[in-house]
Symmetry: D2
Subunit: 364 residues, 4 copies
């Protein structure tokens, strides 16, 4: 079944495998008249690219994006924007070993069972490379939100057992883990290097904050803003958990602790706290939207693991080649992208909620 | 925007408000030929009904469901099944107080901002009563899965700070909290009564397990099984977090700890562990599917809270009437329903993945 | 597969069979704040009701609609509107004969093949009674369009071989065929009575005009306004053909004949002619939108027909009971309904086409 | 709003403009294991290509397609197939004239009104070049249907006033108009050449027949097979009308004339006639499916026409360059493509209609 499309009004369709011709995305439903150039998209892709630090895979890809349609004389036309990133010519390589067994933690087994015939090279469609299309589309969504005064910022709050204990936005890009706390980043460095020595990998948690969001986004009862964000975020390969606001902590709170009281802030209604994370009843409440995603450790490790071949033989494997010991820093930008895409779609969908505003729109 | 519909092949559309004529659901895409009677649905609704224990609101509703279409001579016909639950005639009541201010933790404020005109009585559409439609539809999904040999079971794993430490399936229905551990239930009883005395409320965590699931369900990359489950579960009013398998714990694990090794179990491939929670690459892997939802404390409490009126006056309120001090036990069945609905849709969608099987289907 | 839902932003879901409890529709995505009462819907249903003249089936139904949700204090709330029409208690009747064979021109055979188990009484779900939900939803759409200054008017242009040769809007409701030409109606009367004597039935053509439509509705390239109208109209049971503007006649024209030249009408751009029927490139062009639907003769006739039983026995049948010798007059209101529903959805979807207008919307 | 996607299970997303980098399509939901190579698609594109005869535009394009994803070792993998056709480098050209006014019969005016900013070169997104994506996707659909024993054949039945009076399938590709009647083709040649001398253009009618279609395709009540075919066909730029079976002729028939009687054909049920065109109640009935599309004359003509500039000045224009005097022959393959795409989607959707067959599928 067709599953590569996400969104209703602002809609993306990604395509491409790790070792095919390339990867790309069709971004449809972009309103016309928005200034857009290659660099708007490239900048965000560069944050996702391999080889940014010693903690990411050194696969030699520049991931240069081309805009193939939907932009004319520097502005969007309202027609679908096709974005394309060529895969570098892969040197001829022997995939017979990797093709023979199921890697633990990977989708080899499930793709084989579901499709019978699949591209086993480098994960094929289940590869992290598929997120290039998401990030490219997210760059457009983020830019549009920016033009509307809305910002989307994601960062790492923990790697393995090490969590941040302070927040400085400027520090996010100053360390290889995208942590807003340089002390925590330093400890993380040591922790990750130890794990790398053991040919092991680690996971972490990413938080994303959307500021200056209008009230009213989200469509009850199934297209709630947080429900669609959950789907968007959980559709990213390595994500195993999703929270909004206090998340799982809320399950241990009492009503008095969790409820956010309203107050009058010089004529506008605000909440004294933000345990809800910016969403009430699935609709944005004017407070910053706060979500978190749990990222599992990279499944590809060189340490010895037990698995079976396709012929059911039990074997010990050590996955060759160098892999990201953690994908969290690169996933930060994917979380940002999927959040921006979901928020923008909700923002466009919300325009029809009140009849008076529909009437005003057409009376002009 | 239309937001009351969920699912692609098996699709539900809920409608109704807390204090309107009633609530209901259209269940479309049900395959023909399935035996179905009122009691199949009523049984599951009875588990959601208020008044089951001293810990649930005593609102006097029998929530009797009627099947209005889609069933003929005791079997489904493949046409939409309309299910209806009448609201009991509400006694004339003065809603002017509740209409005047925004209840903290409720959707009053966001509905007002989004729609300008809304039904403020008892939460209107954002009321927990909307979940009647979900549970009624879920009962059908659960029955179909059962006929295919698949079981869906949900239960409470924690209330406030108290978690289960053992698991006995038979005990789930033997305590008012739907905990599979009677000792934990006993402690919970004491904890909840204390909070009730303080006119306060509590939250908890619900787990849901799907057993005997075929391999291959879920459509990469956006209609992944876990992504759709996340949306389904997060679309339930009080849910603030979602996990699959080890969830947030996975973020603290290493690859060696998290990866599930495959082995040969007398000719079939199995996983030694199930950290993944039954999903790899968004596709079911043949292990039990395990998900968890964080439920926030009931927002309606009689304890004093600060808020503002619609005229921006800051006031102290105490929400009148008796409310569920915790909705977790009743939410268990809603989680079960939304899980069953999502699984069934994925199961039907998966039928077209391999050409050979499509050809066999039509060659018969 | 779920097939009972139509529309994206403004979305309807119909349910119900001819001889079940009743029929209904959920209308979702209605903007909030629109005054709506039962009579707004009943009036349009009354035009669809059987028994309006000697040319329609005398089935004794009042088709009284109830609004079960989505309206509060006389105005829409933005939540789904559930509309319900009870079927009158059907007298106990023997359906064994009708259940034994396939009626020519009906869906008995295809429903049986598709679903194996189906409700054969009175056509079940394929009955014309299903259109009650469409008309009820269409009444809401038509009212909203009216509030925006847009009118939708349908009428009969031919019955069998007899076509109209003049147009007087006021005459439409003055004859049993809904023709805007009383002379043609008179000839039609004679023609239809002759066919009735022969226990036969007739078809006809319905035209629908939408006036004062804004420019810009329709989303290239698959959600074109005329493409969605074609789907909406062709989804009505008895429709066998659809045209926009000059339709099939356009296939015989030259470019010089067909192209509509633009001119300057005191500062606004207009077309000198309207061969396009109000749509260029799938987008409304500001001229009146004109569509036509071909309605086949009622399949239920008392005249002798050849068919087979479910046991493959060849038999001669004469369908008992009185049936509409033509359904065209009652279909007029269904065409109007489906047109209004499609136009309104396009109108809401169009609000996001230009970024400047999105920005203005949120800057307010 | 996103409008470039069509289909549910088998879903296509087209992109690209006439004078951009190229055009393409993402074909998602293709079952795995189908042999597919470039030539399977190229062959059908070659029938759509310009320059096939003196009656089509000589724009020098080879329209060579590349498969960028979704195929591995010669077979489909179930992941999205990205198909790309590069536009030939357009010579630098002055578009200022064409940019200054609205061409009658084209979408210049409506795109300008809808989007404010648009690509006016060669029609941009509304150009016939967009159909390359449809044909490429249609080639895949047609191949899959072929493997299931289902054939899809389209041809021209009339050009201007000249209609076919005999049918020989082999003759379709033996004349430049794709008529199955060489005599009619000869008359057409003369007629078209006359119109070309007058710098004028002509339209025509295309018929498409689907043979060996299983019974049961189509999902009542809105996803009826004929409703979706109508949308598919009407979404093609130049189509102004759609018919199934007897179409508009049915409106002049009586029930006795139109109803197709069933009979027992050596143990299988068949219809004596096929006025319905292979669809009853929106579901395929086992007879050949027959549809027709009315194609308007090419709007681009060199003959003098009246129009206005964007500054509202009334002018006379003669559209420069050589254009197809008729697009009917090239549209034949587009009709075939959209029909195949729609049929295949319905075929996949139908697999879930009966519970017994779902159970059998998973019991294997």
């Amino acid at each position: 079944m067709a599953g590569s499309t996400f969104g209703t009004i602002f809609r993306i369709t990604t395509w491409g495998e790790s070792h095919g011709e390339g990867v790309g995305v069709i971004v449809d439903g972009v309103p016309s008249g928005i200034p857009l150039e290659q660099n708007d998209i490239q900048e965000m892709l560069d944050k996702r690219r391999p080889g940014q630090s010693q903690y990411t895979t050194p696969r030699n890809e520049t991931d240069t994006v081309s805009i193939l349609s939907g932009v004319f004389e520097g502005k969007t036309t309202g027609t679908p924007i096709s974005l394309f990133v060529k895969n570098k010519t892969q040197r001829s390589k022997d995939y017979s070993e990797i093709a023979s067994y199921y890697r633990p933690g990977h989708a080899d087994y499930t793709y084989h069972k579901k499709y019978d015939h699949y591209d086993y090279r480098g994960g094929g469609r289940s590869s992290g490379r598929e997120t290039i299309g998401r990030v490219a589309a997210g760059a457009i969504a983020k830019k549009i939100l920016h033009l509307l005064g809305i910002s989307v910022v994601a960062y790492t709050t923990s790697i393995g057992p090490i969590g941040i204990s302070s927040f400085c936005k400027e520090d996010i890009e100053k360390n290889p883990f995208r942590m807003p706390d340089l002390d925590a980043a330093k400890q993380t460095e040591q922790f990750v290097q130890e794990q790398m020595k053991q040919l092991n990998s680690v996971g972490g948690v990413i938080e994303c904050v959307v500021s200056n969001l209008p009230t009213g986004l989200g469509e009850p009862v199934f297209e709630k803003l947080d429900a669609n964000l959950a789907k968007a975020i959980m559709s990213i390969g390595a994500v195993k958990g999703f929270e909004i606001g206090d998340g799982f902590l809320a399950s241990t709170q009492t009503g008095l602790e969790h409820n956010d009281g309203f107050f009058n802030d010089n004529g506008t209604i605000k909440k004294r706290t933000n345990h809800s994370g910016g969403v009430l009843g699935g609709i944005s409440d004017g407070s910053p939207l706060i979500l978190r995603a749990a990222i599992k450790p990279t499944p590809s490790i060189a340490a010895l693991q037990k698995t079976v071949t396709k012929d059911l033989e039990e074997i010990d494997i050590s996955i060759k080649g160098r892999h990201d010991p953690l994908i969290v820093p690169r996933a930060v930008v994917v979380i940002e992208a999927m959040t921006a895409i979901t928020i923008l779609d909700a923002l466009l969908l919300n325009m029809t909620s009140q009849f008076d505003r529909v009437k005003q729109f057409y009376d002009k």
